[in-house]
């Protein structure tokens, strides 16, 4: 044994190239874009059908309809009841589910490749022939009302609700939850209308990854989705994300809480922004992981928290950047102060060459790890489709990360980390938290966990 070997990290082996081949792409006669990635490694197939219409496309009087429509797709079709659908799918060991997000509505499925044909049949039932049975709508509404109450016991929900309101104002990204009145309005007729409006083949992409053959897939799709008529895409014309002028403090009072959930946020950028890569690297340096600055400071040096991170959320139309930590009550003020120190540091000091290259190596190195499973590969491929990213996006991703300079990181920090206008949200025991943090902003508002304003100063 050579003790010298121990002293320094060893040299890496010869590097192994990794490329994701471009998938096969085509468009069906009804306008549905189809992307097929053939991969025979294991007898598995993943399916993702995504529509470019989501929660933000709901009207004022139709809140909650897109998510209700999506979740009820699997609760009854012309040929199968909810129970029959569940049994048919699960008896194959497979899974099919649908959900909506702000920007998209997605139907996902996965199965052993022996059952590809059966999955296509079930998908066509769900897409073309959902019946939205009254009894299922009624159950959905009642469960949703209970879930809305349940959410209010969850600190991360309470924090995100306030942060979204403060960052997005009148933009529909501010709606993270529903009101009971919204739930009452959900009915069969409006669900059918939403179904026709959202599940439009020429406003969607179908991605199939795994042990399939493209000609067979196309045949199945043409056969099972016969009669699916094209429609129109929703028009997206929303109020601007407001420009914040100064810092604010919002406390959600949770008396007796042993921790404070801290979220500090400002608005960011949409997913196709040219600043994406510089900001990705900047965020990696600042707080994306366990070797990032805020984690090293708040957890490893101070022991204030189990985890402290920053996160950027870049959606189709806008985005935000937020810092989060759950800390014990008595260090709430100190934790916020350390966050602000880190925000100032990344804005004012150019990142050292080594720290920059460490962040870049992480982002390029994890790329193949993210593509190891079918779910991971599917996510990479669908994101390119959903956000209209360049065709060579996956091929050039690592190059684009590597080419970010220290100056660009500083520019991104100055542009998107804006301490002077941040919204500070704390879910915790207001009596012990407010005195610690009121110095950080000119205004303090206190809400209860029901979302009602109880104090403003």
């Amino acid at each position: 044994m050579n003790p010298e070997f121990r002293k320094h990290p060893p040299e890496s082996l010869a590097s192994v190239p990794f490329d994701i081949p471009r998938p096969f792409e085509t468009t069906l006669s009804n306008g549905l874009r189809v992307v097929i990635f053939e991969n025979e490694r294991l007898p598995l197939v993943s399916y993702r059908l995504a529509f470019f219409a989501g929660d933000i496309d709901e009207t004022e009087n139709g809140r909650g309809l897109v998510s209700a429509m999506a979740l009820l797709l699997t609760e009854g079709t012309e040929n199968y009841s909810s129970q029959q659908l569940a049994e048919k799918i699960e008896r194959l060991g497979a899974g099919i589910s649908a959900h909506s997000s702000f920007d998209f509505t997605t139907i996902s499925a996965s199965s052993l490749s022996f059952y590809t044909s059966a999955i296509f049949e079930m998908l066509s039932e769900i897409i073309l022939k959902p019946t939205f049975p009254e009894s299922e709508i009624d159950l959905y509404r009642r469960n949703l009302l209970e879930n809305l109450k349940f959410q209010r016991s969850q600190p991360p929900f309470l924090a995100s609700e306030q942060a979204a309101r403060l960052i997005y104002g009148k933009h529909p990204y501010s709606h993270v939850s529903l009101k009971p009145a919204d739930v009452e309005r959900i009915d069969r007729e409006s669900l059918q209308r939403t179904h026709r409006k959202v599940l439009v083949p020429n406003n969607a992409v179908m991605l199939i990854v795994g042990d399939v053959r493209r000609d067979e897939v196309i045949k199945e799709l043409e056969q099972h989705l016969d009669g699916w008529q094209p429609g129109s895409a929703p028009v997206r014309n929303f109020p601007e994300v407001p420009k914040r002028e100064k810092r604010s403090i919002t406390v959600v009072d949770r008396p007796g809480s042993s921790q404070s959930n801290i979220v500090i946020a400002n608005s960011g950028f949409d997913r196709s922004s040219p600043d994406y890569f510089a900001s990705l690297v900047m965020n990696q340096v600042l707080g994306a992981g366990a070797s990032s600055r805020v984690f090293m400071n708040l957890r490893e040096e101070k022991g204030y928290t189990y985890g402290a991170y920053t996160r950027m959320d870049a959606r189709s139309l806008a985005g935000d950047i937020e810092a989060t930590a759950e800390v014990r009550n008595d260090v709430t003020g100190e934790s916020i102060s350390e966050f602000f120190k880190e925000f100032e540091r990344i804005r004012d000091e150019k990142v050292e060459a080594e720290e920059l290259s460490d962040a870049q190596s992480f982002l390029t190195g994890v790329f193949p790890i993210r593509a190891e499973t079918q779910e991971g590969l599917t996510s990479l491929l669908i994101n390119r489709e959903l956000y209209g990213l360049p065709e060579d996006y996956l091929e050039t991703y690592r190059e684009r990360v590597k080419s970010v300079t220290a100056d660009e990181v500083m520019d991104a920090a100055q542009k998107y980390i804006r301490p002077a206008e941040m919204a500070i949200v704390v879910v915790g025991d207001a009596a012990s938290v407010v005195p610690q943090i009121k110095e950080f902003a000119p205004t303090v508002e206190v809400f209860d966990t029901d979302g009602s304003l109880i104090e403003s100063q």
Partner: protein, 426 residues
């Protein structure tokens, strides 16, 4: 039905170093990624009565530096190499794992061996990690609605302290932990002869063997750790308890049963009984309670798999104003039906496909493979159980599921925890 389909076995190579470190190699070059896991044969089951939570606190110390790796250097080296890593602690074992680009194999082995060989412990790092662990406890347990119910029911199911106490431990015991405790624990449990090392993914086996010998070969072995006794009497420690949860918005309940250890036919039969009862939207209890009666907001169940007596749970958050005892009666009736009639042929077909699906899915990820292989290597001393476990599960008959449900999932063997909301209206 793919009766003809046979999942090809992994070609596993196993050997031991002279110091007793058991090694398993699972090569698969599909993606240029390598995962490795070190599983130490120590968990909360090995803890002293006055040091609950220590195995987990120790896990945190393993990231605080060793002779040639500075504090937090482990995170940083792995991340700048483009890797991911973590460690976890259970009743059974403490594991450490990383996934790296294939060319970074030497780095992973160097890091794991340096901390196995020369962990550096300082008072400052211990104090700091003690605080991080306390925040973890607050985050996951104390400040979380229903966060403490699984620890509470384990203490009702098990009579033996080794089994009944929680992995996160108590604040008092965390406060009492000293640097000497950490050093002693390291010497006793973190020896090469008390661990297994597994590699899965893209690597050349000869290079891997050379590197493993070079990195781990000179770490001295230690006397075997003290034997522990995890035996339990058949009956549960406590049949009924109420937990006044200040954060819970709704009443809830959790039922737990003491069942035989993992790897037995009875355990496997009960694991499959659980699938029939609570796994998925077509499961019996989902169809009865969430659909059907529409009495429950959330239904869940799982098995806690241990080398000694294990457990199985079913829990529910009913809708407000629902009669909790009526819901429990429905659950017990459904279990009684299963123990009289057994699963239906269509349920057996579902089980078969789900097991096959799970097995295929696990094989995609080098990390998932390496973790499962490490468990079989550590618990069963035979990593090839990775290849045979699917068949062992598929061999369980409807009759065996019926008999196991009848024998174990009855009222006498049951612990019932009622959660009563006790907040100021959270």
């Amino acid at each position: 039905m793919p009766h003809s389909f046979k999942l090809p076995p992994l070609n596993l190579e196993q050997f031991s170093l002279d110091n007793g470190l058991r090694v398993v190699l699972d090569r698969d070059d599909s993606i240029p990624v390598v995962s490795m896991a070190v599983y130490y044969d120590v968990g909360s089951r090995n803890e002293r009565g006055d040091r609950t939570g220590f195995a987990h606190l120790f896990e945190h110390m393993m990231f605080q530096g060793s002779e040639n790796v500075p504090k937090a250097g482990h995170f940083q080296y792995i991340m700048k190499a483009g890797g991911t890593m973590n460690g976890t602690t259970s009743s059974e074992r403490t594991n450490y794992y990383e996934t790296l680009p294939a060319d970074q194999l030497p780095l992973g082995l160097w890091l794991e061996s340096d901390r196995m060989r020369s962990l550096a412990v300082t008072q400052e790092n211990l104090d700091n990690q003690r605080e991080a662990v306390k925040e973890e406890k607050r985050l996951r347990y104390d400040n979380q609605p229903y966060g403490q119910i699984f620890d509470l029911i384990s203490s009702m199911i098990y009579k033996n302290f080794a089994n009944s106490h929680s992995t996160i431990g108590s604040m008092e015991h965390l406060d009492a932990a000293s640097v000497e405790d950490v050093q002693e624990f390291f010497r006793i449990y973190y020896a090469p002869n008390n661990a297994v090392l597994v590699l899965s993914g893209a690597f050349d086996p000869n290079t891997a063997k050379e590197l493993i010998e070079k990195c781990f070969g000179d770490i001295p072995s230690q006397p075997a750790p003290p034997a522990i006794n995890v035996e339990e009497p058949g009956e549960v420690a406590s049949n009924y308890s109420e937990w006044h949860d200040p954060l819970a918005p709704f009443p809830a309940f959790l039922i737990g049963w003491k069942i035989p250890q993992r790897g037995t036919e009875e355990f496997r039969a009960l694991y499959l009984a659980g699938k029939v009862l609570y796994d998925g939207d077509s499961s019996r209890l989902y169809q009865k309670l969430v659909k059907g009666d529409e009495s429950v907001i959330q239904l869940f169940g799982f098995t806690d798999e241990r080398r000694g007596p294990s457990s199985i749970f079913v829990g529910a958050i009913p809708k407000p104003d629902e009669d909790l005892s009526a819901i429990r009666e429905t659950i017990m009736n459904e279990i009684r039906d299963l123990s009289v009639h057994g699963p239906t042929p269509s349920e057996m077909e579902k089980i078969e496909n789900q097991l096959l699906n799970d097995a295929v899915r696990t094989r995609q990820s080098s990390l998932a493979r390496t973790q499962q292989i490490a468990e079989f290597a550590l618990y069963d001393n035979d990593p090839n159980f990775f290849n045979s476990e699917l068949d062992s599960l598929l061999k369980i008959s409807a009759e065996q599921i019926k008999l196991a449900a009848a024998k174990f999932l009855n009222t006498d063997n049951r612990a019932l925890l009622d959660v009563v909301p006790a907040g100021s209206g959270a």
